[in-house]
Amino acid sequence: MAIMMAIPAGIAVNQATTQVLTNNLSNTIAQTSTSINESLTQIDCSLTPSAPSGFGFSRDNTASPFRPEGSPPAGLPYNFVPGQFGGGMPIPGEFGGGAFGGGASEPMNETYYSDIANIAGVAAVAPVLQVSEGHNITVTTPSGSTFNRLVADYVIKGVPLTSIMNDYPILPTNITYGRTLQENDTGVVLLSENNSAYFSVSVGGTVTILDNDFLVVGIYGSSGVSDRTTLYMNLSDAQTLTNNTGYITSLAVYAGTSEAVTSIANEINALHSELDVVTAQERLDTLTQIQSNYANQLEQAQATLSQTQSQAFQEIVIAVAATSIIILFVMLYTVRERTKEIGTLKAIGFSNWNVMSQFLLEGVLLSMLAGVVGIIIGSVAAPFLSSVLLPSVNIFGDNGFRSSAVASNASVVVSPELMLITLGTAILLGALGSLYPAWRASRTRPAEAMRYE
């Protein structure tokens, strides 16, 4: 019974996980695709991230909110925290940190790359600082080990509020409430709709970010220049706020014409080979790649799911069959053991039906009791059982970020409906399994039953 219950519960969780992933990824891909198309002349330059990185702050992880998680990269302020967000690593399912925003994942000195502005054909260079703020979650892998990872609550994006913003799409354009940021704005933020919901604040309100208060001047719709959890503020505000003065995470280089993009990118590469240079076209290509990867992965996930379902179905069939057979044998044994009693009952005037209903009732009560015990055990052991009995949905198993995509077995919950179904099944099986024994009992000939000791 416990098995019967754990399996559907596990399947439900797997299905739900896949569904959520599908929705998340499709939305994000659509939005990002739009945003890239709006700025085809853009070239993003950032330091190659070391390992799965980016950087951000985790509130939970630290005694003080700025304490680094791991040692800071050489020459960087102490409080830069290599994390998993904020940079260029695409993480399907967890789109906190500018997965497609093209930010550098490791901080770089803002003055170091001033020569880029002098490259022929470059119209403008916008320094950007992008830092994630989030919390740690503990993820349990199917093998039972656990690890922490940072989930971004929002991404702080500092952009230069200078005249450059008037000519290039460094800020979101679809403002839904209030206004966008203006030149030399300070102490103010532009929130995404997601941010607005997260902070429960609207235009005119105040948000507290890393212990500093900011006035919300506007809210933008989510299909803008950047993705859903990014909030915008003055670059200098962001630098001060994150104790990051003089550092940025990426440079947005704008070519004068779209034809010049490739030659500029090559020149930047020649000047600074340590930089990761990504053109808008490349980002679009990457996106296409991700999209097709995702399609593959989704296919795999669906294959896994259908495999899960057929495996689960087999397991349920086996469990059901085993249960019926056990009940059948237990009841047959009972009938045999009680032949004399049955004979007595018949001799004193119990009809076949009286005897049969008696044993049917006993079978049903027995399996109902078993069902209740099973539900109790199943409720407690469902996560464990479903991890043993079912394959995990492991869509993104290869990139190191599978945790979010794996149906966490800890979330296997036995619903009341499932309990009722289980109880109903138990009763049905009890009736089914005791049908033949009860019939056998009812056919007992009293004369023979009497002689039976």
Partner: protein, 300 residues
């Protein structure tokens, strides 16, 4: 006393034992009147149990008629027979056959469960019957907390539950010690005398049989002999010559045989230990009827 409860006409019963057909009962004829107290005796394999099973509708006759209250049960289908068993027959078994997980009262209520007796009446009736067999105050005891004799009393109360036309007792004293045996026989005799219950006992035990009013000897599937028993004296009939007795007689005026010891067996409440009574019967029987005593001896 003259109404016929049971009438068996030319009844035969055969059954297969491997390839061999065993003719257990052969053209048997028997009549039992209402209020009679009958013993069926015979050696093993003589067909006693088969006869009882046929009478109790738990086995079917191969041919002939078995009329119970003028209804032929030999022809009846199982779907009707259970009602006969329930309402017309009370079974008493050698091994008591009480349900171990039910208490005395619940065991007695069992036969009333399916015949429409209102639930409210069952318990009262069961208590009444248990009182009748001398088990007042023990109604809520489970069988394992009762002595063998007490268990058989419960079984007798259960047999009486639906006011059956006839009580069939299969070796009712077979599993009892001497004292309990006397008690049970006394109980059955008193039920017969006071309530007019028709009782048929199948027994090996000559002493038990002697306390009925009519002893039938089965051998080879037929009733080979029939004798009168001591119980008749309680009904003021001489067991030996059938003459009418006076309430305080212990010796028949007509035939001169002694059927009671010092006390008068005609007073049921004072029924003595079977052994002493039986020895009297033995003595009397030896005097004038050697066949009678021979059969007892043979039965051992």
């Amino acid at each position: 006393m003259s109404e016929t409860v049971l009438k068996i006409e030319n009844m035969s019963k055969a059954y297969q034992l491997g390839k061999r057909t065993v003719q257990a009962l052969k053209n048997l004829n028997l009549q039992v009147k209402k209020g009679e107290f009958v013993a069926i005796m015979g050696p093993s394999g003589s067909g006693k149990t088969t006869l009882l099973n046929v009478l109790g509708c738990i086995d079917k006759a191969t041919s002939g008629k078995v009329l119970l209250d003028n209804v032929d049960i030999a022809e009846m289908s199982e779907s009707k027979l259970f009602k006969i068993r329930r309402n017309k027959i009370g079974f008493v078994f050698q091994t008591f056959n009480l349900l171990p997980y039910l208490n005395a009262r619940e065991n007695v209520e069992l036969p009333m469960e399916n015949n429409g007796t209102p639930k409210s009446e069952r318990s009262g009736k069961a208590r009444e019957l248990l009182a009748m067999v001398g088990l007042s105050g023990r109604e809520e005891h489970r069988p394992q907390r009762l002595s063998a004799g007490e268990q058989q009393r419960v079984a007798i109360a259960r047999a009486l539950a639906n006011d059956p036309s006839i009580i069939l007792a299969d070796e009712p004293t077979g599993n009892l010690d001497n004292k309990n045996k006397q008690e049970i026989v006394k109980l059955l005799a008193n039920l017969n005398l006071k309530h007019g219950t028709t009782i048929i006992i199948v027994t090996h035990d000559g002493q038990v049989a002697a306390h009925t009013e009519r002893m039938l000897f089965l051998s080879d599937g037929r009733i080979s002999k029939e004798k009168q028993g001591l119980h008749l004296a309680k009904k003021l009939i001489c067991p030996f010559c059938g003459s009418k007795l006076q309430p305080n007689d212990h010796k028949c005026i007509s035939c001169g045989k002694v059927f009671g010891a010092k006390k008068n067996p005609a007073i049921p409440e004072e029924t003595e230990g079977i052994q002493s009574d039986a020895s009297q019967v033995f003595n009397s029987a030896t005097d004038g009827n050697s066949a009678y005593s021979a059969s007892f001896t043979a039965e051992g």
